[in-house]
Amino acid sequence: MVLFECQGNVDGILTGIYDAWASRLGHGNVGLRIPETGTMELFAEYRSVAPDPEKAEKVARTIRRRMGERAWQTLYQAALSSRRDRADRIYRVLVLALAPGIGADMAGRILDRLQDPDVAAVFEMSRNVGNEAHRYLGFVRFQELSGGILFSRIRPENQILPLLGDHFSNRFPRENFVIFDTGRRDALLHRAGGPWAVFEKAEMEELQPGRFSAGEEAFRKLWKGFCQSISISERENPRLQKQLWPLKYRKWMTEGEDFLSNHRTSSP
C-alpha cells in the first residue's frame, strides 16, 4: 500500500489525486491521507505530496468535463469538509466515475449511486458542508470599522469561506469586507468593485473596541432591541430556539451575546 499524503485544502487534495492516479500503481494499491490527522499505518509506504496548482487545475478540469458542473460542485464541497477521509473518498468516487466504459452521462450520475459507500460518504460530506455554508450566509455578522471596512469573525467546522465569496461580493459590491475564519486563520477579502479571494493563514490583529466606526454601537443596539421585541412572549420556546440556532454560532453574532447570557440564567 502506498499512501499519498496531501494537504487538506482543495489544491492539496486534488494534487494528491493527480499523483496517486499518475503513479499507476493500481487503484487498489494506493490511498490518500491528510497527515495532520489519524494514526500512521504499519506496512505502508508514505509519499508526501506538495500542492501544485497546475496539477490541481487539471484534475478539476477533467472532473468538470467528464462528470459535469453539478458533480464538480458536489466533489468540491466534499473537499472542503473537515472529515479525515475526504481525500481518499473522493479518489474512490473518481475511480468509479472515470473507469473505462463509463460514458459521459453515466459519469455524472455516479453521484446518485448512494448504494456505494464512497459515494454515500462524499454525498454526505458535501451536504454537510453545503448546509453549514448556507447557515453562515445568514449567521455572518459584520461590524463596521472606523475606515468603513466591514469585518466579520466566524468559526465554522468546514472550510466554507470559498462558498461565501460569490454570495457576499455580489451582495455588497461596493463594500470592502473581511470574513475571518478564526479557527483556521483564513480570511476572505473583498475590495469594493473588485473580486474576492481567500488567503490562508492570514495574520489578523486582534480587534480593539476603539476601532469600530462612530455609528456602529448605535446600530448594534437597534438590532439587539429588535431581536427582543419581535418575539411573541406567549409563544416563547427557548428549546426550539436553541435547536434551530445552536449556541456555538451565537458567540460570533451581534445579538447572540444576549441570548447566550439569557441561556445561562434560565437553565443552570
Binding site: V59, A71, Q77, A104, R141, G225, R235, E236, L244
Partner: protein, 450 residues
C-alpha cells in the same frame, strides 16, 4: 395625532416591531436575483434565515409597521383604534436607513413593511409606496422587500408598489367572511379579495411581458402570500384547509400562512383560549399545507365533514396513511415518484434520490437511510426487494401504537412547532440539478490522464 413627543429611532423601532410581530410571514424566499453591481443586495430563492427569536421563529426580514396609528378597530389586533397603546410612525428616510444599515451588517435579508391605517387606506399605501421608491431608487437597495397591499387603496398605487417589491400580501385575516364581519367591522371579504385578484392578474400579465422582453420591469417576482388567524373564530381545520386550497388554486398564492391566535385584547367576542395560542393546531395546518403544495394531496383527502379536525397525536400524512392501509406497503424499487411521496418518512428530496439511485441498481434498506428516508416511520409502509423491515401484520392500531411510542419516548419535550417554511427549498449550496455535461469522452485504460 396622539404622538405626544418626538420619539427617537430606538423607541420607534421598539414600538413598530413589537406591533408588527403578529404577522407570521417571515420568509425571504421565492426570487433569485443577482445584484447589479451598482447598489447593494441580491436575493436567494431558497430564502436565508439570519437569526431566531426567543419564540423559535426565524428572523429574516426587518419586520416593521410604518405606523401603528390606525383608524380601524379590529377586535383581535393590538393596534386597534380603541386601544390605549403607545403610537409611533417612521419617516421614509428612517425606514431606508434602518434597512440599509441592518442589511450591510448582514443582520437581515430585507424589509417586511406593513402598516396600520393612517388617515385612510390610500394615504397609507401612498406612504408605503414613497418609502419603497426611496429605498429602491435613491438608496439602490436590491435585497428582498415584502410589502402589504392595503385593501381599499387605489389599484394604481398598489400596482406601482408591486413593481418595487418582491412579494406582496393582503391578509385574509380570518378564514370566513362571517368571522371577518364579527371581528373586523371595517373590513370585508370583498375588499380583501379585490387587491389579491389584482396582484394575481398583474403577476400573470407581467410573466407574459417577461417572456417577450426579458428586461421588462418585474412585478412582485416572488408572488403573493396571505395569512389567516387560527382560533379566533370557530372554523374547523377542514374549512381552513379548504380555504387555503381555494386560495392556491384560484389566486395562485405562493404561500398561505397560519397564525395561532394570540389574545392581546379583552373582548367579549374573542374566545378565552386558556391554554394559550393554539400552536399545535397551527403546526398541523402547516404540515397539511405542505402536503397540498408539494405532495399532491387535496384538502378533501386529508379531512372531511365527518373527520373535520387533524389528529393531535399524528402528523397529517401518517394519519392519512393509517386510514389508507390498503395502499401499502409499496415497493421502493418500483413505486413511482408520487406513490413514494405518500409514504410517511419519505419527502420530495428522498423520493427524488430514490428514483435516481435505483436506475443504477436496486436499493437496500441502508441506502434508503442514506437517501434521507426516516425509517422509523417509513418501515411500516414499504418493502424493499420484497422484504419488510417490520415483518408484522400491518394493522392500523399496531402501527399507530408504534408510531406513538416512538414519539412518546420524548414525551417530556414539547412538540416542535418549527415553521416548515424555514427550509423552503434545497439547502445544498450550488446549482440546482442541471443538465449533465454530455461532452465528456471516455478514457482508454482507466488511467486516462488529467
Amino acid at each position: 395625532m396622539r404622538i405626544a413627543k418626538e420619539r427617537d429611532l430606538y423607541e420607534k423601532l421598539q414600538i413598530l416591531s413589537d406591533a408588527a410581530k403578529y404577522d407570521v410571514a417571515c420568509t425571504s424566499s421565492g426570487v433569485d436575483r443577482r445584484g447589479s453591481g451598482q447598489g447593494m443586495g441580491n436575493c436567494a430563492a431558497s430564502g436565508i434565515c439570519h437569526s431566531f427569536s426567543a419564540d423559535g421563529r426565524c428572523i429574516s426580514l426587518l419586520k416593521i409597521l410604518f405606523t401603528n396609528e390606525c383608524v380601524f378597530d379590529c377586535r383581535y389586533c393590538v393596534n386597534r383604534s380603541s386601544n390605549d397603546t403607545p403610537r409611533a410612525s417612521f419617516t421614509p428616510e428612517e425606514v431606508c436607513t434602518l434597512t440599509m444599515e441592518f442589511y450591510r451588517r448582514n443582520y437581515i435579508e430585507g424589509l417586511f413593511l406593513s402598516s396600520g391605517i393612517l388617515v385612510s387606506p390610500s394615504y397609507t399605501m401612498e406612504l408605503l409606496y414613497q418609502t419603497l421608491y426611496k429605498l429602491r431608487r435613491e438608496y439602490r437597495f436590491e435585497g428582498y422587500i415584502h410589502v402589504k397591499a392595503i385593501p381599499g387603496a387605489p389599484a394604481e398605487l398598489i400596482e406601482r408598489a408591486g413593481f418595487l417589491a418582491d412579494r406582496m400580501s393582503v391578509n385574509l385575516e380570518l378564514p370566513t367572511a362571517e368571522g371577518l364581519r364579527r371581528l373586523a367591522p371595517h373590513k370585508s371579504r370583498k375588499r380583501i379579495l379585490a387587491p389579491m385578484r389584482q396582484i394575481q392578474l398583474g403577476h400573470a400579465r407581467n410573466r407574459q411581458e417577461l417572456s417577450l422582453y426579458r428586461s421588462a420591469p418585474r412585478f412582485v417576482p416572488a408572488g403573493q402570500s396571505t395569512q389567516m388567524i387560527i382560533g379566533a373564530t370557530p372554523e374547523r381545520d377542514y374549512q381552513i384547509l379548504s380555504v387555503a386550497e381555494a386560495l392556491y388554486r384560484n389566486f395562485q398564492l405562493k404561500r398561505v400562512f397560519y397564525s395561532a391566535f394570540v389574545k392581546v385584547n379583552e373582548d367579549a367576542l374573542l374566545p378565552a383560549l386558556p391554554g394559550g395560542p393554539p400552536l399545535l393546531r397551527e403546526h398541523r395546518l402547516y404540515q397539511a399545507d405542505w402536503l397540498l403544495r408539494f405532495y399532491g394531496f387535496s384538502a378533501g383527502e386529508l379531512l372531511n365533514e365527518k373527520h373535520p379536525n387533524f389528529n393531535v397525536f399524528l402528523d397529517p400524512k401518517c394519519d392519512w396513511a393509517l386510514s389508507h392501509l390498503e395502499q401499502f406497503p409499496v415497493e421502493v424499487n418500483t413505486a413511482d415518484y408520487y406513490t413514494l411521496l405518500r409514504v410517511p418518512g419519505i419527502g420530495p428530496k428522498s423520493a427524488r434520490r430514490i428514483v435516481q439511485a435505483r436506475r443504477l441498481g436496486s436499493l437496500d434498506f441502508p441506502s434508503l437511510r442514506k437517501a434521507g428516508v426516516v425509517m422509523k416511520r417509513a418501515m411500516y409502509f414499504i418493502t424493499c426487494r420484497g422484504r419488510q423491515l417490520a415483518p408484522l401484520k400491518i394493522e392500523e392500531d399496531f402501527i399507530l401504537e408504534r408510531l406513538l411510542c416512538r414519539s412518546s419516548r420524548k414525551s417530556g419535550e414539547p412538540v416542535s412547532y418549527r415553521q416548515l417554511s424555514l427550509f423552503d427549498a434545497g439547502q445544498l449550496l450550488g446549482p440546482p440539478p442541471a443538465e449533465l455535461d454530455q461532452t465528456g469522452v471516455t478514457g482508454g485504460d482507466g488511467y486516462g490522464s488529467f
